[in-house]
């Protein structure tokens, strides 16, 4: 039976030890970090086990929680390695874990029944029967897909099969998250590290790094009788960062389990300011206020969105440059175009 929260938890990103510390200082109740190779971000934003221990110590000194995201879809061959890693994290004192693979979730739940498990947004758990399935596996709280509307969120909250965690700062992908392999179709390298960990470079599901190919410019064309005609001008496929505000008072009234801020790839000062914004907003809501029409709050949010978008655009350009053009191995004779 899952542990009920007394109040909504504010969960913030820890893309580095410094970011985790800044997030706690800015008012986060909890932080999530990814161990190298195991979370849905590239290794630059993941932490060594030693740094995870430092974050745990800092969190517990300040009465806060640390959740470890091991939410890649692992290879069959590394499940036991993952279980050993989690056992080690439990000894280090983590407060919870974030997972995606249903079988792995169930093994973790069976081996460590007291450990709180969150289902990653990568599960794309989108209906009440699926929530029951994940509850069967041992999930306490599900991060819901960004596509779900308030009616659906209320239904899932009322059903109470699992707790509801909502992404307040994240991006809505072109596809349902966790259901996309466009990046690894373009470029994917599988390497096995000396410690036996498989690294799937270019697969967001398996290794974290996404080349964001959906953000390059795509032209829609139709082929008829061997001729191609173009429709409209090239544009990206749609992958939009959001910063929820007006919705937050409703979520607080619903007493959802968790509001999560994504953004391990942003700078520490920006993450710190975003956490502070949501901390103050949630506290105001808990005191019965609704600041969402206050011009000062609106201005503050808009300024942060501008900073966030600038950082994101730079990052997208870097990724699209880094992934470059595909180097293919020998291809059969070309027929048609590509």
């Amino acid at each position: 039976m899952r542990r009920k929260r007394e109040k909504t938890e504010l969960l913030a990103p820890g893309g580095s030890y410094e970011m985790a510390r800044a997030a706690y200082d800015a008012g986060a109740d909890s932080v999530y970090v990814g161990p190298v190779g195991w979370s849905r971000r590239r290794s630059f934003y993941e932490l060594s086990d030693e740094d995870i221990k430092r974050v745990i110590d800092y969190a517990h000194e300040h009465g806060k929680l640390l959740r470890v995201a091991m939410n890649t879809l692992p290879s069959t061959w590394e499940i036991s390695k993952g279980l050993q890693k989690i056992e080690n994290f439990i000894k280090m004192g983590i407060d919870g874990i974030v997972l995606t693979d249903p079988g792995f979730i169930n093994r973790v739940h069976t081996n460590f029944p007291g450990l709180e498990i969150h289902a990653s947004v990568g599960c794309s758990a989108m209906n009440r029967e699926e929530f029951k399935f994940y509850a069967d596996m041992g999930i306490d709280v599900v991060t819901v897909p960004t596509e779900l509307n308030i009616k659906e969120l209320k239904q899932l909250q009322d059903d109470d099969a699992c707790g509801v965690e909502i992404l307040v700062h994240a991006n809505r992908d072109f596809t349902y998250l966790g259901r996309c392999t466009m990046s690894s179709y373009f470029k994917h390298v599988w390497k096995k590290a000396s410690d036996g960990k498989n690294h799937f470079h270019g697969s967001p599901n398996r290794g974290g790094l996404c080349w964001r190919v959906c953000k390059s410019q795509w032209c829609l064309t139709e082929k008829t009788n061997g001729r191609a005609s173009e429709f409209g001008s090239p544009e990206d496929l749609g992958n939009v960062a959001f910063f929820l505000f007006e919705e937050v008072p409703d979520y607080m009234k619903m007493k959802v389990d968790c509001l999560k801020i994504q953004g391990r790839e942003y700078t520490v000062p920006l993450v710190s300011d975003i956490v502070k914004f949501y901390r103050e907003l949630m506290d105001a809501c808990m005191e019965g206020q609704d600041p969402t029409s206050d011009p000062e709050w609106i201005k503050r949010r808009e300024a942060m969105i501008t900073r966030r978008d600038n950082e994101r655009d730079t990052k997208t350009k870097e990724l699209l440059n880094e992934c470059g053009e595909i180097k293919t191995t020998t291809e059969p004779v070309t027929v048609g175009e590509n």
Binding site: P74, T175, H188, F200, S216, C219, E325
Partner: protein, 305 residues
């Protein structure tokens, strides 16, 4: 009796009526990507019944694909489709969503259940749990390598179906890209996805089917059939729903003959078939992720040996 099963998927009644299904042992009926498409067999009981009868009269096994991304409001339709499948005594239902699987297991214990490629099956522990929920066949996520799939097949003692030719689904979206880009406002989408739309960027070439985005290249495993068979795979799919009307029959006939040769101890030379498959495919070929490369790469049999 051949010791393999060759399958394809068909989404509407008119498509099944004009497809040459003779090379196939079984057919998956229904569009698992879009509930708005009015001709979707998964949404029309009478059409589904006719399609089932057509397949039965041709002595084919009948599978039905259910909607892959059901939200709460879609669950009644999922339940309705499961009831139709039970009533029509189809051979199995392909399910891409763990919620639908749980419903099927609890409410329709008589149905045979397969788990599809959009369910994101990656590991052996997951397949072991899915077996508890009644799954007797799975397609792993396309990102799995041949070695991983073989491990799962052997350790879980379950049928693992392979996409052996055709386009891979690379992602499914909440809304239709074609309706959005073409500013199509009417509810009736007028067969937009049946037209030959592609997405082209400086980096890649993809096929779009509105709700799903697909590989621009066709997966082609003809050169690798000996390895596939040596690894013990027996169930194969040719994905043909986004192709012209002759594709399924033409590609199916080639693979039927090739598989009969390769499994029957006869001389098998893939290069007797490769040029024809290249011609039919209209774009380059690839091997998906079977050999742990980028999805769009092609690996020759020579490079594997």
């Amino acid at each position: 009796m051949a010791n393999f099963e060759l399958s394809t998927s068909v989404f509407t009644l008119s498509e099944i009526q004009r497809t040459d299904i003779s090379p196939f042992d079984s057919v998956y009926l229904g569009d698992p990507f879009c509930r708005d498409y009015s001709k979707n067999l998964g949404e029309n009981r009478e059409d589904l019944k006719k399609a089932v009868e057509l397949l039965r009269s041709n002595d084919k096994k009948v599978y039905v694909s259910s909607y892959s991304v059901p939200r709460n409001d879609d669950l009644d339709a999922a339940e309705r489709l499961l009831s139709w499948c039970e009533e029509l005594k189809v051979d199995a239902v392909e399910i891409h969503n763990f919620g639908t699987l749980r419903m099927a297991k609890n409410r329709h214990p008589g149905l045979k259940l397969f788990v599809g490629y959009l369910a994101n099956v990656y590991t052996e522990p997951t397949v072991m749990k899915l077996k508890v929920f009644g799954a007797s066949r799975i397609m792993g996520n396309y990102e799995l390598s041949m070695e991983e799939l073989e491990t799962i097949k052997n350790n879980c003692n379950i049928d693992v179906e392979l996409l052996i030719h055709g386009k891979m689904i690379l992602g499914i979206s909440e809304t239709c890209l074609l309706k959005r880009r073409l500013e199509h406002k009417e509810d009736d989408c007028m067969d937009l996805c049946r037209r030959d739309f592609h997405l082209v960027s400086s980096k890649m070439f993809l096929r779009t089917f509105g709700r799903v985005t697909m590989s621009g290249k066709d997966v082609c495993m003809i050169e690798h059939l000996p390895e596939v068979i040596r690894r013990g795979f027996k169930v194969f799919r040719i994905e043909s729903f986004a192709e012209n009307r002759d594709y399924a029959g033409n590609v199916g006939r080639i693979y039927r003959k090739a598989l009969e040769e390769a499994t029957g101890g006869k001389d098998f030379n893939p290069y007797n078939y490769l040029p024809e498959l290249q011609k039919i495919s209209r774009s380059n070929l690839c091997n998906g992720y079977y050999f742990a490369t980028s999805g769009q790469e092609y690996v020759t049999a020579g490079q594997r040996s």
